[in-house]
């Protein structure tokens, strides 16, 4: 048996790009179905919004300006600075009060290796901006995986800030178990423990015992997962300014943002089909009619007037580079653009040209075919599947996801008017 489910728009993928375009369309009154193989990259992200953090010339101080100056062919240049601003503003409006910051200023957040990482919008109240001469103390539970307070403090103290100065920092471990029998708990186990007021009291006492008057206290980003009061409560109990340090996955700030945005999407009326991979598409001339998804027992055909391909890049399987050297987009078989020359180079430290490969799109985010014309009139792309940027180096992945998702949603809304 086969089943057909119809909606106005089908979105493929539950990362920042998929969720943003789905919410934007649902808020505009559309019936939206979001189909996703699994959870998106947001769960693994730092929970902040990168717009443009670094160029070859070094740290970017005004991300919005960098977006406006993006070179031709970069996704920012195609989507346009207005779409990036509108996408970021929409996100801040949906999750009211979640973020602080503005697109014209770079924020620095400490990482688990003690780097000052440039980003743009940060979870409100959860970070402190570094300034020369400040005294920082990095406090970390000894039983937590991947957190070395002394290493973090040492690196933060020797890394120059944008104005050339340095913070002073020391690191100190505390012995406090998230769960009785575990000696190497993940940050998520600590965050869940810190959702409980009784554990917060014990934890805060242990932190207070090692901090000195006037110090800014940096703790791994574990200060509560589901209890929205946890952070404020800990701040009050510890009585010092607190700053969360982003960790490798599992990332608590990423999980918080993913949970909030998925819940918001569901509330906005987005129908989320979790766990189903989209396998293939049916087209009629220059239009996509439907996609087939791997639901249990039988394939379900999802028909729609418009489609958004937000299935990410190589890491999520949307793009593939196989052992024969073939580069492909795995659902629609769209042409993948890449720079001439070898896509992969042997030098470990060199830039891998493959990272820039992806779809080429028009201003409506429609993937382009050989002749530079949209392959389908009602198929749009957003996020990591679009080529032309090295997101991890630029620190631009989230901004690109927001901008291209917004541009795709706007084009779909206009086409249905």
């Amino acid at each position: 048996m086969s089943r057909t489910v119809s909606s106005a728009t089908v979105v493929i993928g539950a990362g920042l790009a998929g969720l943003t375009s789905a919410i934007a369309l649902a808020k505009a009154g559309q019936d939206v179905t979001l189909i996703t193989k699994g959870l998106g990259g947001l769960t693994l992200s730092q929970g902040s919004i990168d717009i443009w953090g670094r160029t070859g010339a070094g740290l970017v101080t005004d991300p919005a300006q960098a977006v406006a100056d993006a070179p031709a062919g970069h996704p920012y240049a195609v989507a346009g600075a207005d779409a990036v601003r509108a996408g970021a503003e929409a996100l801040c409006g949906w999750l009211d009060g979640w973020f602080e910051g503005d697109l014209h200023h770079t924020r620095l957040v400490p990482t688990a290796v003690g780097a000052w990482r440039p980003t743009c919008l940060v979870p409100a109240g959860h970070t402190v901006q570094p300034a020369a001469g400040q005294r920082w103390v990095v406090v970390g539970p000894r039983r937590m995986k991947d957190i070395q307070p002394e290493l973090i403090a040492g690196n933060l103290a020797r890394t120059p800030l944008p104005d050339g100065g340095f913070v002073r920092a020391r690191g100190v471990g505390i012995d406090i178990a998230a769960r009785a029998h575990e000696v190497d708990s993940s940050g998520v186990a600590y965050a869940r423990a810190l959702d409980e007021p009784s554990f917060r009291a014990t934890f805060a006492e242990a932190v207070k015992a090692v901090v000195h008057e006037g110090e800014i206290v940096a703790l791994p980003a574990i200060l509560g997962l589901n209890d929205p009061e946890a952070f404020a409560d800990l701040s009050k109990r510890i009585g010092h300014p607190l700053c969360e340090i982003v960790t490798p996955p599992p990332s608590v700030p990423g999980m918080r943002l993913d949970q909030a945005l998925r819940a918001y999407a569901q509330q906005a009326g987005v129908r989320i089909v979790l766990g189903a991979a989209v396998l293939s598409a049916t087209t009629d001339g220059d239009r996509v009619v439907s996609v087939d998804a791997d639901t249990a027992g039988h394939v379900t055909t999802y028909a729609a007037d418009a489609f958004v391909l937000a299935a990410g890049g190589f890491e999520s399987g949307a793009l593939e580079y196989d052992s024969t050297g073939t580069l492909s987009e795995t659902i629609f078989g769209l042409p993948v653009t890449r720079a001439p020359g070898a896509p992969v180079v042997a030098d470990y430290w060199a830039d891998q040209p493959l990272f820039e490969a992806g779809l080429s799109v028009d201003a409506s985010m429609r993937p382009l075919g050989q002749a530079g014309k949209p392959v389908c009139t009602n198929l749009h792309a957003a996020g990591g599947v679009i080529g032309g940027a090295v997101r991890w180096r630029e620190k631009s992945g989230e901004g690109i996801a927001l901008g291209t998702a917004w541009a795709a949603a706007t084009a779909i809304e206009e086409a249905t008017k």
Binding site: G38, T43, R192, R271, G275, A276
Partner: protein
């Protein structure tokens, strides 16, 4: 050492489907953060570790007995962005591990039909006996079934007995042809009312409903690692359901048994049989069925129900990768607000939460679901699967209903509920 089940080839026959997916694991930790068991206990190291990591070392042998703490809720497989069949490979590992020394308790609690057959003729007595504390203490000590674990409520008449006697009270002629109704064992012996609502709704919509006499899908045996018995039962069931006629749609109101037929018997136990493939591709969840009708413009207008009701979508329903069709269908009822729990699992996961050593874990897993149900309700809550309704009902004291309960009302087949 090779266990009998591995020697018989099952260890690897079962493994081959899921095992092939383990190399796709990127170690992203998404499954670990979403696993409801790892969330509440450090007795279980989590799906990434017990699934794709440990599986590499599991050549017919068991490397870590903590895998038995997995409840088989399937959440990990659902959230994995790489398509790793984590829950499936863990279930297979469990079958190999337990082969040859299966606890009597696990064999007993997998026999829902036997329980139903024994209890139905003496329903009042059976219900009373299950309510007697000292007796439950003895059962816990002897068999390892927790004294507070939820137990089904026996009915004096089975659904099949009712169905044989009932006459469709039609307002519509049976113009839409035939459908087969699958009641499962719980729907035959315990959740009889749900089965009746389902049949009455289908008949009201103009279907001729066929119910060939049938038994259990074997899910409880499968999740306890009893693959041989489960395979026997599921194929017997396929024969029974196929006897009703070729190519007919099979409609089910048993959230988890549907999943066993659609994919679990194949994806976990490796059952490759055309009878299963046939039934598995024809069976649909009743809410999935109604949503398809609505999309085709074939569902009548619903009468309003002015309520706000809490709902939990069971893990084994979500595992069917079709979203939450109950939310879509109930969304068509004017005045009705349905609030989904957003939680992966209620803890019972079939028979997991009955076991003495798992009871506390299951209760902790279900706690947020129980809180959600108790926060704001009109005297009842909604959930698509029988065992989950028993679990949530027992832990909250709330009456639990299948979503079809409200569809039955919205079609004018029973009086509309009002706020308690």
């Amino acid at each position: 050492m090779s266990t009998p089940i591995a020697a018989a080839g099952l260890g690897f026959a079962g493994h081959e489907l899921a095992r092939a997916s383990l190399d796709q694991c990127l170690k992203c930790t998404i499954c670990e953060t979403q696993c409801p068991v790892a969330r509440v206990t450090d007795l279980y190291p989590g799906p990434k570790f017990i699934g794709p990591q440990a599986e590499r070392f599991r050549h017919g042998q068991s490397v870590d007995h903590s895998l038995d703490y997995c409840s088989s809720c399937g959440t990990c497989t659902l959230v994995c962005p790489q398509g790793v069949q984590i829950a499936e490979m863990i279930s297979q590992g469990r079958a190999v591990m337990k082969a040859g020394h299966m606890p009597l308790r696990d064999k007993l609690i997998s026999q829902t039909v036997l329980m139903g057959k024994a209890m139905t003729p003496v329903a009042p007595l059976a219900n009373a006996a299950l309510g007697i504390k000292p007796l439950r203490v003895v059962v816990e000590a002897t068999f390892g079934i927790h004294r507070n674990a939820p137990m089904p409520h026996a009915q004096s008449q089975s659904f099949e007995a009712w169905f044989k006697k009932h006459r469709p009270a039609r307002t519509t002629e049976a113009t839409r042809g035939k459908v087969v109704f699958f009641h499962g064992c719980a729907g035959n012996y315990f959740e009889v009312a749900t089965s009746k609502y389902a049949v009455e709704v289908l008949e009201h919509l103009g279907y001729e409903v066929l119910v060939p006499s049938h038994g259990c899908c074997g899910l409880a045996q499968q999740s306890n690692g009893l693959f041989d018995g489960a395979t026997h039962d599921v194929l017997k069931l396929c024969d029974d359901l196929r006897s009703a006629g070729k190519g007919l749609t099979i409609v089910s109101a048993s959230g988890s048994c549907t999943g066993m037929l659609k994919h679990e018997a194949h994806e976990i136990m490796g059952v490759k049989d055309e009878r299963l493939a046939d039934v598995g591709s024809r069976i649909v969840d009743i809410m999935e069925f109604l949503w398809t009708l609505h999309q085709a413009g074939e569902l009548p207008e619903f009468a309003p129900i002015n309520l706000s009701v809490p709902y939990h979508a069971p893990c084994q329903l979500k595992g069917q990768r079709m979203g939450m069709p109950a939310l879509d269908v109930l969304g068509l009822i004017p005045g009705l607000t349905v609030r989904e729990s957003g939680q992966p699992c209620c803890g019972i996961a079939g028979t997991y939460g009955l076991k003495k050593e798992k009871y506390a874990v299951a209760q902790a897993v279900g706690k947020p679901v129980f809180d959600h149900m108790l926060k704001d309700n009109p005297g009842f809550g909604l959930c698509d699967t029988e065992t989950c309704r028993w679990q949530i009902g027992k832990s909250t004291g709330l009456r639990m209903e299948h979503p079809i309960y409200l569809v039955h009302q919205a079609l004018g087949l029973s009086p509309v509920s009002t706020a308690a």
